[in-house]
């Protein structure tokens, strides 16, 4: 759409009005930019201040003597619950959870999208509709049964451990979370790939079929090499969602050494013992935010595309 300027009939005498107009527009835009940047700015400067400066200084002032101490303390020393070894362990927990969950759910989504568009069968729309609706349910409605199932699997894991010598990951909170995120993520990944492959020329698939290419050969040789953009979109979307998840994390790994970053951060901030070290809290929050912010800065375009795809079209 072309920009809307003041109507032409005012053009002769409206030069001043036009300038005022522009100033107002830019002013408003700058004001809102401040509104969006403010919390991040405050968080960032606070994380570089000493406690003394925080209590006596201005929230918006730049640190007089910037110190990395809060960051180091947040990473290596601060207390999460009763253990005081920083948040580094929980950061790695999140990584260990996110990487497999993203890869598995994305691969499954790609295969599902491929089947649902290029190997249509009766009822494919219904199958897709059922999977799609699963994206939107409030997870509270599955939270408790999943906890029950994971609990029994955990007990079974202990039995296995005692009899066979390995639990095969059953009962391991990180494995549980990977499983949960895959289960409740495939709806989204399937949606992404289905919509992408829908626009992919079916003739290519047909031609390959005539040439005798098998189901998986077509997928590997024709679909995958042409799926780079949607892979990036899906991986980013899943990464952000799973990294930022709090509900599942607190329900299934809410205590102990296996809790992911978001839960650990919440524990650090809401701890009631001792003096509250705001600078350390802010540094911890920044560390928790960095991976997704980094992805956003590096691949913002794909991030937005993923949000749109997840939001707009069924």
């Amino acid at each position: 759409m072309s920009a809307v300027t003041t109507p032409t009939r005012q053009a002769s005498g409206g030069m001043n009005a036009k300038i005022v107009n522009r100033i107002v527009i830019y002013g408003l835009l700058a004001l809102f930019a401040l509104f969006y940047l403010m919390p991040l700015f405050v968080m960032l400067v606070t994380s570089f201040k000493t406690m003394d400066e925080i209590q006596n200084g201005n929230m918006l002032a730049l640190p007089k003597a910037p110190t990395f101490e809060p960051w180091l303390k947040a990473w290596g020393e601060t207390c999460v619950g009763l253990t005081c070894a920083g948040i580094k362990g929980y950061f790695w927990n999140s990584i260990k959870m996110v990487v497999p969950a993203v890869l598995i759910s994305t691969m499954l989504g790609a295969l599902n999208g491929y089947v649902l568009t290029k190997w249509r069968f009766r009822g494919a729309t219904l199958v897709f509709g059922l999977m799609l609706f699963a994206c939107f349910i409030p997870f509270q409605s599955v939270l408790l049964p999943m906890a029950t199932i994971l609990g029994s699997l955990g007990r079974f894991g202990v039995t296995l451990q005692n009899t066979v010598g390995t639990s095969f990951g059953l009962g391991n909170p990180t494995v549980n979370l990977v499983f949960v995120h895959v289960v409740y993520g495939i709806g989204f990944t399937t949606l992404f790939f289905r919509n992408y492959y829908e626009a992919f020329p079916t003739e290519l698939v047909k031609a390959a079929q005539v040439d005798g290419a098998s189901f998986f050969q077509i997928f590997r040789r024709i679909m995958l090499p042409n799926s780079m953009p949607i892979f990036v979109v899906t991986v980013i979307y899943q990464f952000t969602n799973i990294w930022n998840d709090f509900l599942f994390a607190s329900a299934y790994a809410g205590t102990g050494d296996a809790m992911p970053m978001t839960v650990a951060l919440n524990n650090v901030v809401n701890t009631s013992t001792g003096v509250v070290e705001y600078n350390v809290n802010m540094a911890a929050a920044m560390i928790a935010a960095l991976p997704t912010l980094l992805v956003y800065v590096l691949a913002g375009r794909y991030f937005v595309r993923g949000l749109m795809a997840g939001a707009v079209k069924g």
Partner: protein, 318 residues
């Protein structure tokens, strides 16, 4: 195939290659076999679990699930507890908060998103810088958002203190510690997080509008305001619908933000139904009541999402 010798009346091609039939049938079924695990997972872990939760809501489960149906007692407890007891029941607080939060959150996000999108669509220099600034909060976790705003709104350290230092000593802003106003701080943080994304949706919609229509209206002498009110905004109706669905869905699912920003607020005054569900199920050992609240949340989402998905999918397959 022993019948081949006796019945040779019509020898169709299918009969001609009996040996490959198992393999080819497997080939034919392969797509379905590939899809099957995901579909089965969805059926069991989504729909099966939903039924399980519904079932539990009709039992007397406390700390552990019990499977004897005892009727709708949990629902009676939810709704019977009170529209005018003092202090109000947690469920009453939760749904009132949901009403306030949902209404303001959706309304402000839509209004702000549209407003920013229109401003950004005026051939702005530096749009490439501004857009990501408006949108980045969407990449943050609700926990981080909550932590940042908790600090920012804290009366002793944040905004209030800052303005006092600047000389505006009568400024008073302690909503985050006030049980009657704490839910509005959740609105502020929620709007901060999601409005940029709504802006991006509207901006994409604006860019999709045919420039010719706009030009024609301008030639007819429409003012900018008229142009937007009469032509542009009506054309954006599908975006309003999508944005509404996204926001309603985000609002009903909101849980983390309340936890991180307010820790539930003074006396649970910032609870949303999702917090109610979590607390009752996992902390207060009232599993049946928790399940009943989850069922009500689900029903609300179903009422919003199902008609939308149905019409979307029907349009697609047409």
């Amino acid at each position: 195939m022993s019948t081949v010798a006796t019945s040779q009346i019509k020898l169709t091609p299918e009969h001609a290659r009996p040996r490959t039939s198992v393999r080819s049938r497997l080939q034919d079924a392969l797509p379905k076999i590939v899809l099957a695990p995901s579909f089965a997972i969805t059926i069991v872990f989504v729909y099966g679990f939903i039924l399980w939760t519904i079932y539990l809501s009709f039992t007397n489960s406390k700390t552990f699930p019990s499977y004897a149906i005892t009727g709708g007692r949990a629902y009676q407890r939810l709704w019977g507890w009170t529209f005018d007891t003092d202090p109000p029941s947690s469920w009453y607080t939760s749904i009132t908060n949901m009403g306030i939060f949902g209404f303001l959150y959706i309304l402000i996000c839509l209004a702000l998103g549209l407003f920013l999108a229109i401003l950004l669509d005026q051939k702005i220099r530096g749009e490439g810088v501004l857009r990501p600034i408006y949108l980045y909060p969407m990449a943050l976790s609700f926990i981080v958002t909550g932590v940042a705003w908790k600090w920012f709104l804290d009366p002793g350290l944040g905004l209030e203190q800052t303005l006092h230092q600047w000389g505006w000593t009568s400024f008073h802003f302690d909503w985050i510690k006030n049980k009657d106003f704490v839910i509005y701080t959740v609105v502020i943080a929620g709007v901060w997080q999601a409005s940029g994304f709504i802006m991006a949706m509207f901006l994409a919609g604006l860019r999709g509008i045919d420039g010719e229509i706009m030009k024609a209206a301008q030639i007819d002498g429409a003012t900018t305001f008229q142009l937007y009110r009469r032509i542009v905004i009506p054309l954006l109706r599908p975006i309003f619908l999508s944005a509404f669905i996204v926001l309603a869905h985000l609002a009903i699912k909101s849980y983390d933000l309340v936890v991180a920003l307010t820790s539930g607020g003074p006396g649970g005054s910032a609870w949303l139904p999702s917090n109610f569900m979590y607390e009752y199920t996992f902390k207060r050992n009232e599993m049946a009541v928790g399940s009943a609240s989850a069922v009500i949340m689900l029903m609300t989402i179903v009422a919003i999402i199902v008609p939308y998905l149905y019409s979307e999918l029907r349009e697609k397959s047409r």
